[in-house]
C-alpha cells in the first residue's frame, strides 16, 4: 500500500508515531478547510536573498549595496553606482524530528531553490549635483518554499477524527437526514453517505442525533500523510536616489506569485480484530491555491559618519487575489454496516457535478517594519582598505494582522465566515520581532562571513514554543569584474501540527523539530 512507501529506509524502527516533516512552512493545517494556519503560511517567512546576504543572517536594512535590497530595503539599491547581474541557485536538505503522543521519529527532505536573482542598474547624475545617482534593481526572489512531506501516526483512545462531522451536523441543527446527505459535500455528507456517520433514532422515529462508527474507546490507529508543493516568489522592482552620499531613499514594488498544492490522506482504523461495524475509514483531500499579490516598500539609509549607517524600511501588506480548488473523498470499510459493498467511497465531485469546489477571495498579509545598523570599515575606493563590516536588523511583523476578504460583495455567508476567521487569526497570532545579524571580514579579494537570524514564534498559545534560528557562514571572491559567494545556512525550527481539531472532544498536536541545511551560490558580473 503506497501509504508507507515514501518513508526513507534509514528511519528509526517504527514506533506509534512516524513523522517526516519539513520546516519550510510553519503551522501545517490538518485539513483543507480555510483556517488561520493558511494565513501564517504566507507571512511567517524565513530570510531570503543573495548568498552574501544570507551568510550574514539576512541582515541588510542598514547596510545596503546588495541586490537583496530590492526585496528588503530599496534605499540600499541607491548605494549602487555600478551595474551588476546576479544569479543565485540553491539547494536545501533537512533532517527532521517530531513527537506525537510521546513518540518520536525523524526523516529527511531535499529540494532545489533560488535566492535573489536579477539586475542592478545605476544612472549617474551630473557632476556636482546633489542627487549623485539614481539606481534601479529588478529581480526575482523566493520568499517561501512549500515543498514538504509529513506523515504521522499514533494510537488514540480519546477521540476520533470523525467527531468533527458530528459537530458539523449538530452545530447546523440538521434534523432532516436528506440535508445531512446533501448539504455538506466536503465533510459530513460524505461521511454520512458512506455510513461512517449515521443517525440516532428517537422514540418516534425522528432523528435524535448522530453517531460515528469509529470505536474510540477500544482504540483507533490514526495516520496522516501530507504532501505539499509550490512556493511564494516575488518579482521585485526598486528604485533609489543617493543624496550627497549621505542620505539614500528608495521605493520598491513587489509582485508576489503564489502556488500551493496540498494533498493529504488521513486513515483511522479499529485497533482491535473484533467485528464491531468499524474496520477503517480514509479521508483524501486535495487543495490547490494560486494567487498574485502586490506590495510596496519604502526605505531610507542615513550615514551620520563614514563608518556608521542607519536604515529604516516599511513593507506594506501584500494584497493577494487568490483562488482555491479543492476536493474531498471519504472511503469506509464498516464490516457490513450499511450493506454492500464492503468498501464504500464518495467524493465531493459526486455531489458537485463532477467539479472540484472553487472559490476566489482576497488575502492581505501583515505589515513589516524594520530598522538596521551597520558599521563599515572602511568606505574606501581602494579595496585593500576595505576590511569588513558588521550589521544587524530588527523587524516587527504583525502576524495577527493578516486578513481574508471576499472577492465580491454578494456572498454574505462567505463574508461572515471570513469575519470570524479574521477574528480567530487575531486571537491566535501575535506580533513578533525577527532579529538578524552578521558580519564580514575582507582580505582584498577574499571574504569570510558569518551571521544568524532568530524568528520569534507567532502563536499566542505558548504550548508550541515555536521559533526559528538560522546560523550561517560563507565565503566570497570578488575580482576581474565578477564575484562568487558561497553560503551555508543551518536552520533549527520548532512547530506543531494538529491532525484534527474538535470543538468539544480532546485533541492533541504533534510537535515538530526541524533542522535544515541550505546551500546558496551567487554568481555575479559587474558591468
Amino acid at each position: 500500500m503506497e501509504l508507507f512507501t515514501h518513508f526513507s529506509k534509514n528511519m528509526t524502527p517504527f514506533s506509534k508515531s512516524a513523522i517526516a516533516v519539513s520546516i519550510f512552512v510553519l503551522a501545517y493545517s490538518a485539513a483543507s478547510a480555510q483556517e488561520p494556519t493558511d494565513a501564517l503560511r504566507y507571512s511567517y517567512l524565513n530570510p531570503s536573498g543573495s548568498a552574501r546576504n544570507q551568510a550574514i543572517g539576512g541582515a541588510g536594512i542598514g547596510l545596503g549595496g546588495d541586490i537583496t535590497n530590492t526585496f528588503l530595503n530599496p534605499a540600499g539599491i541607491a548605494m549602487f553606482k555600478t551595474n551588476e547581474f546576479v544569479l543565485t541557485p540553491g539547494f536545501s536538505f533537512g533532517n527532521y524530528k517530531s513527537t506525537y503522543l510521546g513518540n518520536g521519529d525523524k526523516d529527511s527532505k531535499s529540494s532545489f531553490n533560488f535566492g535573489s536573482t536579477g539586475f542592478v542598474f545605476a544612472v549617474p547624475n551630473s557632476k556636482g549635483a546633489k542627487w549623485r545617482n539614481f539606481s534601479f534593481g529588478i529581480g526575482l526572489n523566493k520568499l517561501a518554499d512549500f515543498n514538504s512531506n509529513i506523515a504521522l501516526s499514533g494510537l488514540n483512545n480519546q477521540s476520533s477524527y470523525s467527531e468533527k462531522y458530528l459537530e458539523e451536523l449538530t452545530n447546523a441543527n440538521v434534523t432532516n437526514p436528506n440535508d445531512a446527505a446533501n448539504n455538506f459535500p466536503y465533510g459530513s455528507s460524505l461521511a454520512f453517505n458512506t455510513f461512517l456517520v449515521d443517525t440516532i433514532s428517537g422514540a418516534g422515529g425522528e432523528v435524535a442525533g448522530y453517531r460515528t462508527q469509529a470505536t474510540t474507546a477500544t482504540g483507533l490507529i490514526q495516520r496522516e500523510k501530507i504532501n505539499t508543493k509550490g512556493g511564494l516568489s516575488e518579482f521585485g522592482l526598486a528604485g533609489g536616489g543617493n543624496l550627497a552620499d549621505k542620505f539614500y531613499v528608495g521605493f520598491g514594488l513587489g509582485i508576489d506569485i503564489l502556488n500551493y498544492d496540498r494533498t493529504s490522506t488521513y486513515d483511522e482504523a479499529d485497533a482491535t480484530e473484533v467485528l464491531n461495524n468499524f474496520n477503517y475509514f480514509t479521508v483524501d483531500e486535495m487543495l490547490k491555491t494560486t494567487g498574485v499579490g502586490i506590495n510596496l516598500k519604502l526605505g531610507g539609509i542615513y550615514k551620520p559618519s563614514e563608518f556608521l549607517r542607519l536604515g529604516l524600511n516599511v513593507t506594506t501588506p501584500t494584497w493577494f487575489s487568490m483562488k482555491d480548488e479543492y476536493t474531498t473523498k471519504v472511503t469506509t470499510s464498516l464490516e457490513g454496516y450499511g450493506g454492500p459493498p464492503d468498501i464504500k467511497f464518495q467524493s465531493s465531485t459526486d455531489l458537485n457535478n463532477g467539479n472540484p469546489g472553487a472559490f476566489e477571495y482576497n488575502y492581505r498579509s501583515p505589515w513589516r517594519i524594520g530598522g538596521g545598523v551597520a558599521f563599515v570599515f572602511r568606505e574606501d575606493k581602494d579595496i585593500a582598505n576595505q576590511k569588513g563590516f558588521v550589521t544587524a536588523d530588527v523587524e516587527w511583523v504583525d502576524y495577527g494582522g493578516s486578513a481574508y476578504h471576499t472577492a465580491t460583495n454578494g456572498d454574505q455567508s462567505a463574508s461572515d465566515y471570513f469575519t470570524k476567521l479574521n477574528s480567530t487569526i487575531k486571537d491566535q497570532y501575535k506580533s513578533g520581532f525577527n532579529f538578524r545579524a552578521g558580519g564580514e571580514l575582507k582580505f582584498k579579494t577574499i571574504m569570510a562571513r558569518a551571521g544568524f537570524a532568530y524568528l520569534a514564534g507567532p502563536y499566542n498559545d505558548e504550548k508550541f514554543k515555536a521559533n526559528r534560528l538560522n546560523l550561517s557562514g560563507g565565503l566570497g571572491y570578488r575580482d576581474k569584474g565578477m564575484f562568487i559567494d558561497l553560503t551555508y545556512v543551518q536552520t533549527f525550527g520548532k512547530d506543531g501540527l494538529y491532525p484534527y481539531r474538535l470543538e468539544q472532544g480532546p485533541f492533541s498536536p504533534a510537535s515538530l523539530k526541524g533542522s535544515r541545511g541550505n546551500i546558496l551560490l551567487t554568481f555575479g558580473v559587474k558591468f
Binding site: E35, G65, M79, T212, D267, T282, F359, D461, G481, S508
Partner: protein, 244 residues
C-alpha cells in the same frame, strides 16, 4: 523542474554574455564603496569618446547614425550603404520594431487579437463556490488541546520495533493494524490495562441534534454485525447519496 532548468539556462546565458568592464583593475564592492560613473559627455559637455566606456555612443538618440558611419559612407556610398539595413532592422534605431502599438507582434495581446485562445480551466463550472469552511469554534476549545496525553500514565503503549512493508492488501485497516502490532494486535493494546482512557465502555460516541453534549449510543439505521474479523478480499464501490 523544467521551469527551473529553463530559468537557470537563461540566467547562465545572460551571465556568460555579460562582458565586464572591470576585467582589469579593482572590482568595485558597492557595500563598501561604489565608484561613480560620470554622466555622458553630450550632457556634461565633455568628450563623448572619453566617457562612454560602454561603447554605446553611436546610438544614444542624438546620433541616429554614428559619426564614423557617416564619414565612411560619404567616402564610399555603395560600399557602406549596406549598413542601412542594419540600422533599419535594429530595434535600437527603429522604434517601429518594438513599439507595442505598431509592432506586428501585437497580435499576442489578448485584448487586440480576436483569435486569443482561452484556458478551459478558468471556464470550468462549479456548483459549489465558497470558502473552505472550518469549525472555528475548535480554536475556543483550549481546555482540551493536547491535555489528555500524559506519558506517565502509560499511553505510550508499544515500543516494539516494526518494519515497513509495501503490502498489496486491499484491507487498509488490517494493514494499519499489522504495522502497529506486528502479527498480533493484542500484544500492544489492552484496553483494560495501561490506558488512560477517559471514555470507558461505549463503543460509539454520539451527538444529539440541538444538544452537543455526548450521550450513550442509541439505535441507528444501518445493519450491524458482531464476531471476529477475518482477513480476506473485500469489495468496493461508490456510495450513492442516501435518501430518506
Amino acid at each position: 523542474m523544467n521551469t527551473r532548468i529553463l530559468l537557470l539556462a537563461i540566467s547562465a546565458a545572460a551571465l556568460s554574455s555579460c562582458s565586464s568592464v572591470y576585467k582589469t583593475g579593482q572590482t568595485p564592492d558597492d557595500v563598501y564603496y561604489s565608484p561613480a560613473q560620470e554622466k555622458p559627455a553630450y550632457v556634461s559637455g565633455q568628450s563623448q569618446d572619453q566617457n562612454d566606456y560602454r561603447g554605446n555612443r553611436d546610438y544614444t538618440g542624438n546620433n541616429y547614425y554614428s559619426d564614423y558611419y557617416l564619414r565612411f559612407k560619404s567616402s564610399n556610398y555603395y560600399r557602406w550603404s549596406t549598413f542601412d539595413d542594419y540600422y533599419w532592422y535594429n530595434w535600437r534605431y527603429n522604434t517601429y520594431l518594438y513599439d507595442p502599438f505598431y509592432s506586428p507582434v501585437y497580435y499576442g495581446n489578448p485584448y487586440m487579437n480576436p483569435y486569443t485562445y482561452y484556458n478551459p480551466k478558468y471556464y470550468t463550472t462549479s456548483n459549489y463556490s465558497g470558502p473552505r469552511m472550518y469549525n472555528l469554534n475548535t480554536y475556543d476549545n483550549t481546555s482540551k488541546q493536547g491535555t489528555y496525553y500524559n506519558p506517565k500514565l502509560g499511553n505510550n503503549l508499544n515500543t516494539t520495533s516494526r518494519t515497513y512493508s509495501n503490502t498489496t492488501s486491499s484491507d487498509r485497516g488490517g494493514f494499519l493494524r499489522s504495522v502497529f502490532s506486528g502479527n498480533s494486535k493484542s500484544s500492544y493494546y489492552n484496553p483494560s490495562s495501561g490506558n488512560n482512557g477517559r471514555y470507558n465502555g461505549g463503543t460509539t460516541r454520539t451527538f444529539d441534534s440541538g444538544n452537543s453534549g455526548r450521550s450513550s449510543s442509541g439505535s441507528n439505521s444501518g445493519s450491524s454485525s458482531s464476531g471476529s474479523r477475518s482477513s480476506g478480499g473485500s469489495s468496493g464501490g461508490s456510495a450513492p447519496v442516501r435518501k430518506f
